[in-house]
């Protein structure tokens, strides 16, 4: 069994990998994000980034996590029920900055960690959805 094939079993999912646009995707529940980070560490996959998507109307957010495994791009998409998901920072140090950036830009809370300002300055309000804030300012103008 290759490291890639072992992942669904490690995460206790019956889903299998699907290939789309050069990315291997695996569907998972958001509750599995920490198990995923551990599993990625075990197979020595390299963390790349998290991409946040604000869904239309009040559908919330989608987060896409990407890792690299010897040149193969692995993708995991999580639909957030609310505005929070567990942080993987304690397993994946490389996720620190991107979790902080998403928290500052979208107001998404990565639970179980502390925040220090990254793009914002000390004393500025953090955890606000800047996208909504910009839209509100545009409406006023």
């Amino acid at each position: 069994m290759t490291p890639l094939e072992s992942i669904p079993e490690k995460l206790g999912t019956t889903e299998s990998w699907t290939d789309k646009g050069g990315v291997h995707w695996l569907a998972l529940e958001a509750a599995k994000v920490r198990e995923l980070a551990k599993a990625m560490n075990e197979i020595r996959a390299r963390f790349i980034t998290i991409t946040a998507y604000q869904l239309p109307k009040d559908e919330g957010f989608r987060l896409e996590y990407h890792w690299d495994l010897n040149g193969q791009l692995l993708g995991f998409s999580f639909q957030l029920a609310g505005k929070s998901i567990e942080s993987i920072f304690d397993f994946t140090e490389a996720a620190d900055w991107i979790e902080r950036e998403i928290h500052e830009e979208y107001g998404i809370d990565f639970t179980g960690r502390e925040y220090e300002p990254l793009l914002l300055r000390q004393g500025e309000t953090m955890g606000v959805n800047l996208r909504d804030a910009v839209a509100a300012i545009k409406e006023k103008i």
């Binding site: 646009g21 946040a52 193969q72 490389a94």
Partner: protein
């Protein structure tokens, strides 16, 4: 007793803003905290208000040195949403431009590193060579910095006389082999200023998920041109220089050796440039609904773009850019821990940081 030294947001070596708060005891750095975002431009958000042509021009401004790489990655992602495959000649031209940009970036960095080492004549030599690289880039694209070369389905300009470009590359390679490479690989000054300082061990490099020359200088043989080849890279023969020591000297050596590998790739690509069209000829595209992801090995390491589009829309729904410096910069904290205060400007510069990319 420990005390805090704030370095920045105006960096002592580079004219771009970020801040490093260092906790020191005597002349030794105990810990450090990084602050970015002083010039954050919101380019990802701006891209959502631009059509595909305008967005390419915008993405060219993410980085002042890797402008070609950013549009290449962005166009490759959009090609995934428009079902476009660039013709072979375009793939070769993309490799040629990407390698010239790598030369430009590495030689510029070598000049700055030389200046920080107190090696000012070397700084001038490097910048003279850099001018020649920019001359080649201008000869191909008509521009020195923002090349406007990439489009969906190929490139905007052809290389009509590859032999003249090849001559320029060979002259450049000879000059670098005579001056820059021997000095950086053998000189006592370079060794004494760089060996054993700013160490990032392989374990730390894995934990921080660093990319590019910084990763390769810590013993990690990762390079997307080999691991996930794109454009015409599958047809190129080259080596990926790796050094095990993880110090500033290892980063210097990796980049010096990469300069020679880039010249090797350039010679092959120019000699084998296939005939035919250099773009698909389409200028109206039907974007499908979905997200497309593309990665490219920039001079500083992996760049990744995720581009989302809704069918019928003029603008992208979302563009996310993960730049190499954003991945590498947090590792500075580990590199400066235990270092002498006087070495920290060189250690910071050794990752070849791009604040423009970081504050995209």
């Amino acid at each position: 007793m420990s005390y805090k030294i704030p370095m920045g947001p105006y960096h002592p070596a580079l004219e771009e803003p970020y801040k490093l708060d260092m906790i020191c005891e005597g002349e030794t750095v105990l810990d450090a905290k990084l602050h970015i975002g002083f010039n954050f431009r919101g380019i990802e958000h701006l891209a959502e208000t631009r059509n595909h042509i305008q967005a390419i021009a915008l993405m060219e401004r993410v980085c002042g040195i890797c402008s070609f790489i950013h549009t290449l990655t962005f166009c490759r992602a959009m090609e995934g949403l428009t079902d476009q495959t660039p013709p072979p000649r375009a793939q070769y031209i993309r490799v040629i431009m990407a390698e010239l940009e790598r030369l430009h970036s590495h030689v510029l960095w070598a000049g700055i590193a030389a200046k920080l080492m107190g090696f000012k004549t070397m700084f001038m030599t490097c910048f003279e060579i850099r001018e020649k690289v920019m001359d080649i880039l201008a000869a191909i694209s008509g521009n020195r910095v923002n090349y406007s070369m990439n489009r969906i389905g190929g490139v905007n300009r052809d290389i009509t006389d590859p032999q003249s470009i090849l001559k320029m590359v060979e002259a450049l390679e000879g000059e670098m082999a005579r001056t820059v490479i021997p000095i950086f690989t053998t000189s006592r000054t370079a060794r004494s200023r760089c060996a054993g300082i700013g160490v990032l061990t392989m374990e730390q490099a894995i934990a921080c998920a660093v990319v590019g020359p910084v990763a390769r200088a810590s013993g990690l043989p990762q390079d997307l041109r080999k691991d996930a080849p794109y454009a015409a890279y599958p047809e190129m023969e080259f080596d990926v220089p790796v050094q095990p020591d993880g110090d500033v000297r290892a980063r210097l050596l990796v980049r010096a050796l990469e300069i020679m590998e880039s010249c090797k790739i350039l010679r092959q690509a120019l000699a084998k440039l296939p005939p035919g069209e250099f773009h698909t000829g389409d200028d109206k595209f039907n974007f499908i609904t979905g997200t497309s992801t593309a990665r490219v090995e920039a001079p500083r390491g992996e760049v990744m773009y995720s581009v989302s589009w809704k069918e019928g829309s003029r603008n992208p729904a979302r563009v996310h850019v993960r730049t190499p410096t954003f991945a590498v910069m947090p590792a500075i904290r580990w590199m400066v821990k235990g270092a002498r205060l006087a070495d920290t400007p060189l250690i910071q510069a050794s990752i070849d940081p791009c604040y423009s990319c970081t504050d995209r």
